[in-house]
């Protein structure tokens, strides 16, 4: 199967069409709209087609989701600020070169206030904690140049406690290792310039995630899912161990998960969505760079630490900041 770029672009552009607004499911997913917009934009960026969406309307929408009470972004106008939608909003504005439109101080304050004394982060003021949120916070602060030494050190201490005997990481101390959590921890270490903290066993654990059909799973003895083409592949890229799995077989697995009508699903023949579309194509872009020097598919290169194009991330100030 070949890469159905044009179909995927149309698929993303149509996600907000009048036709999709006729479906009840469209309205039920407002709580994911900001993330969904980021996933859609990343799909288009990867396929070098960002101009298929109207830039100013996107910026207007993002800014309309500011939750004035918390200082963060909600997923949709009137929704409460949450760290996950705040990262998506910041990423979108950064990709569009529109960070100046943002009240940076207020977002930095919102994010910092979510850190707990043990170093973990809450998603919002109601207290759920997760290694995902530590990454989310560090990524927001890194993009906005708001990292601070104490916050970084406490975050790192917490993440270290989430390491398990297999060298991988769980969502909290004591929790089972999971592929998506590994991405968040390794990318956090990369943001904090502390990849020396990685356990030697981790790369082997990551390579064991590839199953016979070429796809990657998130935990031992689970089915493969195309989204791990990002969650597992990006830490391998950060650790410079991409050769530790069979990238050609993964490439084939990703292509097979495409739907003829555009979009990608978790496994071949299943229902597509923009989340799986984004993380399969960003993963494919890593393969395109590693195996084919960027020449097989007409794709932009994606930074494995931020899941954003290098054109945006190259301007981020590396940590530790020089005074």
């Amino acid at each position: 199967m070949t890469l159905l770029s044009k179909k995927h672009i149309d698929y993303v552009v149509n996600l907000n069409s009048e036709m999709s607004k006729q479906s009840y499911e469209h309205w039920l997913s407002e709580h994911l709209r900001m993330n969904g917009l980021y996933w859609g934009i990343m799909t288009l960026v990867t396929l070098k087609s960002l101009d298929s969406l109207p830039r100013q309307s996107i910026i207007d929408f993002v800014l309309s989701c500011v939750d004035k009470r918390s200082g963060g972004f909600g997923a949709y106008p009137q929704h409460d600020g949450h760290i996950l939608s705040t990262l998506s909003a910041v990423q979108i504005l950064s990709i569009l070169g529109a960070l100046d439109e943002l009240d940076k101080e207020s977002v930095i304050k919102f994010t910092k206030n979510l850190q707990l004394p043990n170093g973990s982060f809450q998603g919002d003021s109601f207290g759920e904690t997760d290694t995902r949120f530590v990454y989310t916070a560090l990524s927001i602060l890194s993009i906005l140049e708001g990292l601070e030494e104490e916050l970084v050190n406490k975050s790192l201490d917490y993440l270290k406690q989430c390491e398990n005997f297999d060298g991988a990481y769980g969502m909290r101390p004591g929790a089972e290792s999971h592929g998506a959590q590994v991405f968040t921890v390794i990318a956090s270490f990369a943001i904090c310039n502390r990849l020396d903290l990685v356990n030697d066993k981790l790369s082997s654990w990551l390579s064991e995630r590839q199953v016979k059909n070429g796809g990657l799973n998130g935990r031992p003895e689970k089915l493969p899912d195309v989204c791990y083409s990002w969650w597992i592949l990006s830490p391998l890229a950060i650790l410079k161990k991409l050769k530790w799995i069979d990238l050609s077989k993964l490439e084939q697995f990703i292509l097979d998960c495409q739907d003829d009508e555009g979009g990608v699903s978790d496994r071949k023949g299943n229902q597509t969505d923009v989340y799986h579309t984004c993380f399969s194509l960003t993963g494919l872009s890593i393969i395109n760079d590693e195996l084919y020097e960027g020449n097989k598919y007409d794709m932009d290169s994606i930074d494995p630490v931020y899941c954003m194009p290098y054109s945006a991330t190259k301007t981020f100030k590396p940590w530790p900041y020089k005074s």
């Binding site: 994911l32 997923a75 935990r219």
Partner: protein, 335 residues
């Protein structure tokens, strides 16, 4: 996000019929949502408002803002003594339970359940929660939320009484035994076991508790676990869970630090022999080596400092496990 849902292709008639059906649903959903935001902005917290929130969450439990509004409203009603907090929170737990059965993978529902329990404080019935989560894990044995929730429940059952805590954690250890005995591939149970063993051992030592022979020494514990894993290898040689667990048993300082060097080497050599025999059986049956056996032999030989034995094993793996060829080549190069 869709997981594990087969693609549905609707005929054009069916699609039009769905659009027609959805019209009414969209209308009433949006009407309810708009009403809720309007009331919220007015800052009005009433029991009737709670009912509206119940309706909306029944339609869409992923709508996190509505959960937040619900907690704000409940807190405010408790504060104004308009509702009795204990009986309301108990009803709330029943409402959450109905949703959990329909949406077992929704983060926000689990989160709200915990909020209710923490609000109940000393009146929270964590024993009951343990029963619920055991039932959930019997239906969906790898459910990530379920295992996480179980650990939180245990933390809350624990007290300042070490003996009580020992009993709770021993019971948890036995729970993982029953899980791996019914399905050796349940890595979630193996994982939890790896966290429980040091904890129980520590408590047994602290209390000088004699009733659990298994936990009297690290060596007996290690040998017991190795027997379990060795049995597992014969049940399903290609199950990755047991091999990951084996590596932990043979290399973690919890077990090793107190073993004499000779004893440790004996154990490693015994395992090497068992795995070699198993691999020979595989060669007889399937005509080739087994990847997991070879990988385990590499780990053990490295622990024994038998570096010369590792190279031929890596060379074999390059042939029989082509997915990870690059890893073995890198490892060979590092010699």
């Amino acid at each position: 996000m869709w997981h594990n849902v087969k693609k549905q292709t609707l005929s054009s008639e069916a699609r039009l019929a769905k659009i027609e059906r959805d019209k009414e649903k969209i209308h009433s959903y949006n009407k309810l949502k708009d009403e809720i935001f309007k009331i919220r902005n007015e800052g009005s917290h009433t029991v009737e408002f709670l009912n509206k929130l119940t309706d909306l969450l029944g339609l869409n439990p992923e709508f996190y803002t509505i959960w937040n509004i619900r907690r704000e409203t409940l807190s405010s009603l408790f504060h104004q003594h308009q509702l009795d907090s204990q009986s309301t929170l108990e009803d709330e737990l029943k409402f959450v339970m109905v949703l959990m059965k329909r949406y077992p993978k929704c983060y926000w529902i689990w989160n709200h359940r915990l909020w209710c329990l923490f609000q109940l404080g000393k009146d929270a019935n964590w024993e009951f929660e343990l029963g619920i989560v055991s039932k959930l894990l019997s239906m969906d044995e790898r459910n990530f939320h379920g295992w996480q929730y179980r650990r939180v429940v245990i933390e809350n059952l624990e007290t300042h009484d070490d003996l009580e805590n020992l009993k709770i954690n021993l019971q948890e250890f036995k729970f993982t035994s029953s899980k791996v005995n019914s399905n050796i591939s349940n890595f979630s149970a193996w994982h939890n076991r790896s966290k429980l063993i040091p904890k129980v051992y520590h408590l047994v030592g602290k209390l000088n508790y004699q009733d659990e022979p298994l936990f009297q020494s690290k060596e007996s514990l290690l040998l017991h676990e190795l027997t379990l894993v060795n049995t597992g290898m014969y049940v399903d040689i290609d199950d990755s869970s047991i091999w990951v667990y084996l590596e932990w048993l043979l290399s973690d300082c919890f077990f090793i630090d107190e073993l004499s060097n000779d004893k440790y080497h004996d154990i490693l050599n015994d395992q090497l022999k068992i795995i070699n025999e198993l691999n020979d059986l595989e060669i007889t049956d399937n005509g080739k080596d087994n990847c997991w056996c070879l990988k385990a032999m590499i780990i053990i030989n490295e622990l024994l400092d038998n570096r010369s034995a590792v190279r031929p094993l890596l060379e074999k793996l390059i042939d029989i496990d082509p997915l990870r060829r690059g890893r073995y080549i890198d490892q060979l190069d590092s010699f």
